[in-house]
């Protein structure tokens, strides 16, 4: 059974705590990075401190710390592919991109909508934290790939669609500050837990309406396959993360095939103007005061990555 840990701040001090049955036991490790924490917890998982806190008495931080490498997968859920007009059985390539670690933020806090952004979107994702280095010397196979993963966590891959798509700037459009709320739980895996990944249910609500719900069994490129592929072109360090793609139900709606064909005849500028105009009519895009709630857990709650609660606020600076 995966063990849950959180990173938090109390009285201006940062610490890690063990979470169980609704309360947090401080570990007294201090302000460690994710990588340092993974090492420390391997050596010493016994808690000496008797105090317990409920979550609401702490200010919860992202259990993923910068600096770290953030590798992301795109279009990786069956229904999301179908929705985007693609055939999930026709897998052509595993799509990778990255986000800046400046985007990491608390799972219970604000998502800041930059002034110039109109099309702010949400994407709930299952995140994996690497616990072992991958480089040219590591012999990653489908069979041993899971051994490189130390923990699961929940991520929201917030995107500014009007930067990401028209400007062809995925890195910028997905990396503004607060565009990667992570946590609250860092679920450190124990033997047998990795296989439970298929049972994880991802749910995202905006203002108490269900927008996204799917199980990780609908991932097109499974984590083992993905890690194997990553190992061919990427060096990975403990504490680096992979976020595995989002289910259907985002605000973004790909224009139909016909519209895309017509768009192909227009100038780039005109095409994207029309795209933004069309998308702006969709009420699903995030607006200031919206509240996003999300959770990832198995039905039997053996793995439970906690609940994220985010408020969308307008950047006023």
């Amino acid at each position: 059974m995966a063990k849950n840990y959180i990173r938090y701040e109390k009285n201006n001090k940062i610490d890690w705590g063990f979470y169980k049955d609704g309360s947090v036991t401080p570990l007294g490790f201090g302000d460690l990075s994710t990588k340092e924490f993974l090492e420390a917890i391997q050596k010493n998982s016994k808690t000496k401190i008797e105090t317990k806190y409920t979550l609401d008495r702490l200010s919860i931080l992202s259990p993923i710390t910068a600096p770290c490498q953030i590798v992301c997968q795109g279009a990786n859920y069956r229904q999301h592919l179908i929705e985007s007009g693609l055939n999930p059985d026709d897998k052509t390539y595993n799509m990778f991109f990255t986000k800046s670690d400046a985007s990491l933020s608390s799972p219970l806090g604000n998502v800041i909508k930059p002034k110039h952004v109109k099309l702010l979107d949400y994407e709930i994702e299952l995140g994996l934290v690497f616990g072992k280095r991958i480089d040219s010397n590591s012999n990653v196979t489908l069979g041993n790939a899971s051994q490189f993963v130390a923990a699961f966590f929940m991520a929201n891959d917030i995107s500014a669609r009007d930067i990401q798509l028209p400007q062809l700037q995925w890195y910028k459009g997905k990396s503004y500050r607060t565009f990667l709320p992570a946590g609250p739980m860092l679920a450190i895996l124990e033997p047998g837990d990795f296989e439970l990944l298929e049972n994880l249910e991802l749910t995202l609500l905006v203002n108490d309406e269900i927008r996204q719900h799917d199980t990780a069994s609908n991932l097109v490129y499974k984590p083992a396959e993905t890690i194997l592929e990553l190992s061919k072109f990427c060096n990975i360090n403990p504490g680096d993360i992979l976020i595995t793609g989002t289910p259907s139900g985002c605000a973004l709606k790909a224009p139909g095939k016909l519209i895309q064909k017509i768009g192909g005849l227009l100038s780039e500028k005109k095409k994207w103007e029309l795209f933004i105009k069309g998308q702006s009519k969709r009420k699903e895009y995030l607006q200031p005061k919206d509240r996003i709630r999300s959770s990832i857990r198995t039905a039997d709650r053996r793995i439970d990555l906690g609940d994220q609660i985010l408020n969308v606020v307008q950047d006023l600076t």
Binding site: S295, A299, G306, D307
Partner: protein
């Protein structure tokens, strides 16, 4: 498709402590009497037009069978122990105060849920029982307690400890589920969604007893073609009691429904039986207990989501057929432009007809 979910209310009018009783109208009181004795309930009082049953945790009736011209749900009750909250409930529109309550000893107030069902708040704390002795002693591989002694063979009705929960089908799922959250402070434990449209169609609701533990669900509100009681569940001591109860009911010629098995959401070991009217009643044990800190879970609804192990679910268990009465109610609901949609019902029916186990064909 509506995707709004019922959620815990910031300021509910009251916080129910537990379910108190269920009231059923029955054409035939005699068969109900015989059945529920075999089921394991005890008779508190019997008159020509009403039988009151209780369970061993309390002498207060948890099951009232009342003479009627058809078989249907008359209403039910919650325990609301807080005096102030009880007074607040009395102030609600349409509330009816009964100084002596339904059964003549504890004050109650009757409210009506959005589908018009009478719901009583009984001003008393719920009845807890500390210990029930096990009739059998278990030998475990590492702890041997029964030495040179075979396991005794016991027959008879099982000991029903308490009424645990009730499942209500409603034409208006959201409105009703949210009403119970707002009025009685219930909080969703798990919510189930239709696979395609993500429409929420079922909510397991538990009492909010703050840090004190309560059942994973005290009522369940689900989308249905008509408004009715789907089943009620009674808690027993252990697995032996469940199996013994099943054995006893079968030996008396009553109809089984589904069991034994273990649920997925709520985790109970269960056995479903049918009372003389065909209504489902459940014996259960080993259910999940939650306090107020546990957040809601979301799951696709499917037959697979109903159990982790057990006898395969019989094809007639989830009754999605429409009889004359429910069809009439459905048409009435549609004409009145209630929340219910044919599209939702069709998706529910498709879900219910899919075998949960790929290797077994019914």
């Amino acid at each position: 498709m509506p995707t709004r979910i019922p959620k815990r209310s910031e300021k509910p009018i009251s916080k129910a402590q537990d379910i108190a009783y269920i009231r059923l109208g029955r054409k035939d009181l005699e068969s109900a009497y015989r059945y529920y004795i075999d089921f394991g309930l005890k008779v508190k009082s019997r008159t020509e037009d009403r039988i009151l049953f209780h369970a061993i945790s309390s002498g207060f009736p948890c099951w009232s069978i009342e003479k009627a011209n058809r078989d249907f749900l008359l209403g039910f009750g919650f325990f609301v122990s807080d005096k102030k909250q009880f007074a607040e409930l009395q102030k609600l529109d349409g509330a009816i105060f009964h100084p002596k309550g339904r059964f003549g000893d504890i004050p109650s107030v009757t409210l009506f849920d959005p589908s018009g069902l009478p719901v009583d708040a009984v001003n008393s704390s719920s009845h807890q029982i500390s210990k029930v002795n096990s009739k059998r002693i278990w030998n475990h591989f590492d702890i041997i307690k029964r030495i040179n002694t075979p396991q005794p063979s016991i027959s008879g009705p099982p000991k029903v400890i308490r009424l645990g929960h009730a499942v209500f089908l409603k034409q208006e799922f959201f409105k009703n589920a949210q009403w119970y959250c707002d009025t009685f402070g219930l909080i969703p434990s798990d919510i189930q969604l239709l696979p395609k449209s993500k429409e929420p169609v079922l909510a397991f609701l538990r009492c909010n007893r703050e840090g004190e533990l309560t059942d994973h669900h005290t009522i369940v509100v689900a989308t249905g073609a008509d408004d009715r009681l789907e089943h009620c569940a009674f808690e027993l001591k252990d697995l032996d009691e469940i199996a013994q109860g099943r054995e006893w009911l079968l030996s008396k010629g009553w109809k089984p429904a589904w069991g034994l098995g273990r649920h997925l959401l709520g985790s109970q070991i269960f056995d479903y039986e049918r009372d003389p009217t065909g209504m489902l009643v459940e014996h259960y044990t080993d259910g999940d207990k939650f306090d107020h800190s546990v957040p809601v879970g979301f799951h696709e609804i499917s037959r697979k989501s109903l159990y982790q192990w057990g006898q395969d679910m019989p094809e007639d268990f989830l009754d999605t057929r429409l009889n004359f009465q429910s069809l009439k109610e459905l048409i009435k609901g549609l004409i009145a432009k209630r929340e219910i949609r044919i599209k939702t019902l069709i998706q529910m029916k498709t879900m219910a007809s899919k075998s949960p186990r790929k290797w077994i064909k019914y």
